[in-house]
């Protein structure tokens, strides 16, 4: 494959614009090799580079005395006192779940769990925010059952309770469902690991499962609109292995406890490429990788394929050399692959060897830092004209109207979903789904508990992105205080259409402003998040859906409030405006 001569057309097929390709040639100092082009395109696609959204994400409030790490790491980290921190993030797996609902949703859960435990936290809660097309659309039933089974299949086996989420139906998701997965974990404040490598000549270690051709081109897929060629994109489906991930969790936590880990990074989108570049660039180091040492599941994989593979349940780590044997023993005990695949260098280059030949040699900082950043044109979203109550005839029969509402797909009980998820495992669930917020106690603490809620009302955002963005934060905040929690911080998963359309970009900009304003007013900073753009089918965008995942702290869990505890004769109060 190294013989493929890179041309402008091949660059375009990788989703790179002519300008982007010209810049790549300039930064490489020559026409890149095919493997190098794959690396550039992975680093510069929307999914990894946030090129359309970065400018606006920077405006979000991300700080506060409680924030230990805000956006920029695998997950956000927030102090909860007693030297404990909560680590959390939400991430989308929309496109893969539409193509293969079970595996797409499962690997989405796997990815977000890895983000949390890579940082040294044991996952203690998950949520999932799901948006499907109309209930009677021919694809919906298959998608719903596959996605729910996939989320359960992965989370139940991994062993983390699901404490909340959302499920809604709307025709605008008929061809583009949303699967947003949230995970939170608890760690000690001084036991947090980040991706920044330190030290020259240290071993770079590959951990977890073997590399196959799974998802080659996946990050590119997540940044492309859907059309009828979707069928051809199918070979990129990844299969999740929750068993291996559970072993990886235990092995990582065991290894971290030995003090062997200097830096660690999970392999998500464009696995080996993004993780290695990030570790090196953050630490102002170069990285040299020898692909012949990478545990492979398939034969004759090209360097290009290895660098872009999205095989799941893998991590990259920089290790203290003197702890190598101890580290290896832990991974062998858990039945996981462990291989030294490279080293840190002082040349700020990202170099790849394959079959003893150098197939890539790129400037490591520029791969990330020089990624394009766009100020995409946008137009102010019009606000829909408000409707007055008198425009609607009152129902003939209020009882019937009530029953109809309660029986509607969007308001009916979600028990059929969350009973497929293990909500009780770990023995700390104080409130399972079905209430305002899920609550788990802080393991080992006599009174503390954490509350979680995921919220957004897409039709509000569609009607008025600024107010809708605000409302999503406010609703999340209310759900947390409704169980007696003090809201601490939030993560956001911004699902929108094609940002190259000014009206979509306008929705995005306004929604972020609304979210930012509400977060500032409520002192609920955004500490992590994810952006999913190009959620369109045949040119029609989804409803703008900026999901907010909030976390709150309950100091005394015996004073927690819950629904369903009222007795006959209790007085009802309406609070607020």
């Amino acid at each position: 494959m190294k013989d493929i001569q890179v041309t402008a057309q091949i660059a375009a097929d990788h989703g790179l614009s002519a300008d982007e390709y010209a810049r790549i040639v300039e930064l490489t100092g020559r026409v890149p090799t095919f493997t190098e082009l794959g690396i550039w395109s992975a680093m510069w696609n929307e999914h990894c580079s946030y090129k359309s959204s970065k400018k606006w994400l920077k405006t979000l409030p991300t700080e506060g005395p409680q924030v230990v790490y805000g956006p920029g790491e695998n997950a956000g980290v927030v102090d909860i006192g007693d030297d404990d921190v909560v680590v959390f993030k939400m991430e989308s797996h929309n496109h893969p779940s539409f193509i293969e609902p079970y595996q797409g949703a499962a690997t989405g859960v796997g990815g977000i769990l890895r983000d949390v435990f890579t940082m040294g936290a044991r996952p203690v809660a998950t949520m999932n925010a799901l948006r499907f097309g109309e209930p009677d659309h021919p694809k919906t039933r298959h998608l719903v059952s596959g996605v729910v089974a996939g989320i359960g299949g992965y989370g139940n086996s991994f062993g983390v309770p699901c404490v909340g989420g959302e499920v809604n139906f709307h025709e605008r998701y008929n061809g583009n469902i949303l699967v947003n997965a949230f995970a939170a974990g608890i760690a000690k404040r001084d036991g947090i690991y980040v991706s920044k490598a330190e030290g020259v000549g240290l071993p770079v270690v590959y951990l977890g499962a073997k590399t196959g051709r799974d998802g080659v081109g996946g990050a590119t897929m997540a940044s492309a609109e859907f059309d009828d060629t979707i069928e051809e994109k199918r070979p990129t489906v990844q299969v999740g292995d929750p068993f291996t991930e559970k072993c990886l969790l235990e092995a990582c936590l065991e290894l971290m406890a030995t003090g062997a880990v200097i830096a660690i990074q999970d392999m998500g989108a464009a696995g080996l490429t993004c993780s290695a570049v990030e570790m090196g660039a953050r630490g102002d180091l170069g990285i040299l990788l020898d692909l012949d040492k990478v545990p492979a599941r398939e034969e004759n994989m090209a360097a290009y394929e290895m660098m872009l593979s999205e095989s799941q349940e893998r991590m990259l780590m920089v290790l203290r050399p003197e702890k190598e044997d101890e580290a290896k023993a832990i991974f062998v005990k858990w039945g996981l692959d462990f291989a030294i695949v490279g080293e840190t260098t002082d040349d700020l280059r990202f170099r790849i060897l394959h079959k003893s030949e150098e197939v890539a040699n790129l400037p490591i900082k520029e791969l990330g830092d020089e990624a394009p950043e766009y100020d995409r044109p946008w137009i102010e979203s019009g606000t829909s004209s408000p409707m007055e109550p008198h425009e609607f005839a009152p129902p003939h029969d209020y009882n019937m109207a009530m029953l109809k509402m309660l029986g509607s797909p969007d308001l009916s009980s979600r028990r059929w979903v969350w009973e497929q998820y293990d909500t009780l495992i770990q023995g700390n669930s104080l409130q399972i789904p079905g209430g305002d917020a899920g609550v788990v106690r802080v393991d080992g603490h006599p009174t503390k508990a954490l509350a979680f809620s995921s919220d957004v009302t897409p039709r509000y955002v569609e009607a008025d992105p600024f107010e809708g963005g605000k409302q999503a934060v406010a609703e999340c905040f209310r759900n947390l205080i409704a169980v007696g929690a003090k809201p601490l911080a939030a993560t956001d998963n911004l699902n929108f259409g094609n940002p190259e359309k000014p009206e979509i970009m306008g929705q995005f900009v306004a929604a972020i402003r609304g979210i930012g304003e509400a977060c500032l007013a409520l002192d609920m900073p955004i500490v992590s998040g994810n952006v999913s753009l190009y959620n369109e089918t045949h040119g029609a965008a989804i409803l703008p859906t900026p999901t907010i995942g909030g976390v709150g702290l309950i100091e005394e869990s015996d004073k927690m409030a819950r629904i369903g505890t009222a007795d006959e004769g209790d007085a009802l109060f309406l609070v607020g405006t």
Binding site: I99, E100, Y102, Q103, A209, G212, R213, D214, R234, P235, V237, Q238, V239, D241, F243, T244, R297, E298, S311, Q312, G335
Partner: protein, 84 residues
Amino acid sequence: MSDKTFSARVTVRLKNGVLDPQGKAIEGALGSLGFGGVGSVRQGKVFDIELQADSKKTAQSELEAMCEKLLANTVIEDYAVEIG
């Protein structure tokens, strides 16, 4: 109208290259049980189906349709139909 009963076997297997965690786990378990010579294990499904059709040909095409629509997840699986 004069339908006959056919006994068919449908075999559904993961496509080459698709990760098979089950096969991998079984491989490992056979190894620890002392079976030395095992190279690779891939796990699949088999469906034994009785069906009525007017001819073997109709049966075959019905079974293929069942595979496409339900029995196989053609995103990651291949199938084969055999009529006994």
